[in-house]
């Protein structure tokens, strides 16, 4: 396992990944992405999961015993950074590979590992994550979707919201109430729900930016067999924390580095196109500061990764990443939105609307700050 970014093996691995990406990304995706229909985009993203499996880049840090590549965090970071830089498709297996798979490896039964891990790796099964509810966003322990024991299984009824990939998913990693509502944190269970089972209804959510990337899922007496309970009943909160640790992970920050860099370049392009010399000068100065701030994101991720690999306490360094990149992105985009001329107005407008979700999804900035204050700095609740 590589322990430092200074290790010469990092450059060798980076070159290997880059070479593979070069031949793996379809020319049509690379050069005509904006012309693809939604169906073509779906097909390309789905195919990418199988391509990365065939290329040996699926389950990067999963143990080899479970079909993974046994890479370390540094290799994982390099792979995602290079993929983002190359504009590779984002597969549909993100929830499976980053959340469901590691959770099943850590907390699942041998039967669950046998049934679910390989299809996750190949992309043959797509997963979604059913956690948030209309009444339980930041306060996940307040969920109300209930799983009631019924013979050799459970009957699930309730509603989940803000679910990515729901309209494609085969399976849902679901957090449900199985115990006394007052026994907070000791009344939840993690289940695997068949998204094609009777009683499952999916309704897309139209977002502020006009797109439909999330859905609501309604469960009406959906049957889930006992073999699809992950971990012991009523101990799902601990399982959920495993999932969320992976969700709010450093990999998103690693790929956001590429998005933020592209936004800063768009700011430079906006400056170059501006007929107002003063505005152009201010934008160029601001772009210089933003470049430095974006580079800090990259180094913060690398610091957190190396600390984790070295067994040092990395949680304090990790905690800042989501707040930092999301708020920096909003600031860059707001600057561009305010300064955009006709040539770049559409590009900034689309980014601006989408960016409003950055500080909300995957743990709001307020929750992240509470986590920093309470768990990192030790302030009292």
């Amino acid at each position: 396992m590589i322990a430092s970014f200074a290790d010469p093996q990092v450059a060798e691995f980076r070159l290997r990944v880059r070479t593979w990406l070069d031949q793996a990304i379809a020319p049509r995706w690379r050069e005509h992405r904006s012309e693809l229909s939604p169906e073509e985009v779906f097909a390309a993203r789905h195919a990418w999961d199988r391509q990365s499996f065939d290329g040996g880049y699926s389950g990067l840090t999963w143990p080899a015993a479970f079909g993974g590549q046994d890479f370390g965090r540094i290799e994982e970071y390099v792979f995602y950074e290079e993929s983002a830089l190359a504009g590779a498709p984002e597969g549909l297996s993100r929830v499976g590979r980053l959340m469901a798979g590691p959770t099943i490896i850590a907390c699942g039964s041998p039967s669950q590992r046998d049934r679910y891990l390989l299809p996750i790796l190949t992309g043959d099964q797509i997963w979604c994550q059913g956690f948030s509810e209309p009444g339980a966003g930041s306060d996940l322990a307040a969920i109300r979707t209930r799983a009631v024991k019924d013979g050799d299984g459970y009957r699930v009824s309730g509603q989940k919201i803000w679910v990515s990939f729901a309209h494609y998913a085969d399976l849902c990693l679901l957090l449900a109430l199985t115990g006394d509502r007052d026994a907070r944190h000791r009344n939840l269970s993690m289940l695997v729900v068949d998204m094609h089972a009777p009683g499952v209804t999916i309704r897309p959510i139209r977002q502020l930016n006009g797109r439909q990337e999330f859905s609501e899922i309604f469960f009406e007496d959906v049957y889930v067999p006992d073999q699809d309970l992950i971990g012991p009943q009523d101990q799902g909160w601990q399982v959920a924390m495993t999932v969320l640790t992976n969700e709010r992970g450093m990999l998103e920050a690693a790929t956001r580095y590429v998005d933020l860099s592209a936004a800063v370049q768009l700011l430079r392009d906006t400056a170059a196109a501006s007929g107002d010399a003063d505005l152009a000068s201010r934008l160029r100065y601001q772009a210089g500061l933003y470049t430095a701030r974006v580079e800090a994101l990259r180094w913060q991720v690398m610091r957190a990764v190396e600390k984790e690999v070295a067994g040092r306490d990395w949680s304090a360094s990790m905690a800042v990443l989501k707040v930092y990149w999301s708020e920096l992105y909003q600031e860059i985009v707001a600057t561009g939105q305010n300064a955009a001329g006709p040539e770049h107005a559409d590009a900034w407008h689309a980014r601006y609307l989408s960016s409003r979700a950055s500080t909300i999804a995957s743990g709001t900035s307020e929750i992240q700050r509470n986590i920093i204050a309470e768990r990192v700095l030790g302030l009292p609740r």
């Binding site: 913060q300 307020e366 509470n370």
Partner: protein, 292 residues
Amino acid sequence: MQVLPSDESIEAASALTDMISKAKPGRQRWSDVAFADRERLWAALAAGQWTLIGAADEAPFSLTDIAEIVMAWGTQALPVPLTPTILVRHWSWGSAAPAGRPLTFAIAAPGGARVPFAQFPDVALIGPAGEVPLPAAGEPREQFDLLMPVPLAQVSVPPLSPAQVTDVCSLALAEAAGVASGVLSDTVQHARTREQFGRAIATFQAVKHHCANMHIDVEIAQAQLAAIINTPAGQDIGPAVTDAFARLRAVVETGVQVHGAMGFAWETGLHFGLRHVIGLGELARQALSQEG
């Protein structure tokens, strides 16, 4: 490339922190007493050979490692020229100077040069060719006077090389990051113990978020420091240095805010942290914009 400091430098930083806590007067992190006691503090550093950190003929620490040690030094915000001494020895300029003497350097400026700690007792101004006569700079009125580089028309020096400018900016930033870490630590402790409305102010979310913001800024400034140290020769570090110092000043400002009216009082001592960060930022700014 070096992302994190070595284990050896982390140990050295911890040892320096221990030494300072025993040597400095009183328990309060920052106070007027440190200014009055500055020569004794320097003597303690010299006795422990901390003044030789980074010297080219000693077991070499990398710049990242030296920064880790300087960061620990910064948590105390002491008015003593350890960082300039480290820089001079790192550049091998001070090899003829006695091991225990405080050293400093000059930054070329319009009409002369700027010299940090020019008013420190017995300090020697060292240039590439050895010691440079240091004209009397007057008696400092307070700690802040010692920190701000003194303009001296009589001093003429060649410009620092780009690598030396990076060294100055990096270690000034490291020391400032240490100051900010110290302020964060004190602010968290204050928030835990200060009670209002029947409970610790740390239980109010607004206060928690202030503290969280301080932590974020300290972490990011440390990441910016790593980026600056590892910036390839010839690339501009100015924006990163500027942004990092603004971030660290914001940490101390927020620390004052969380302390409320007490934060604004001289006796609480947070102003030492604020002035220290400002002084270090000025040193970096002058190095970046030096003449020649």
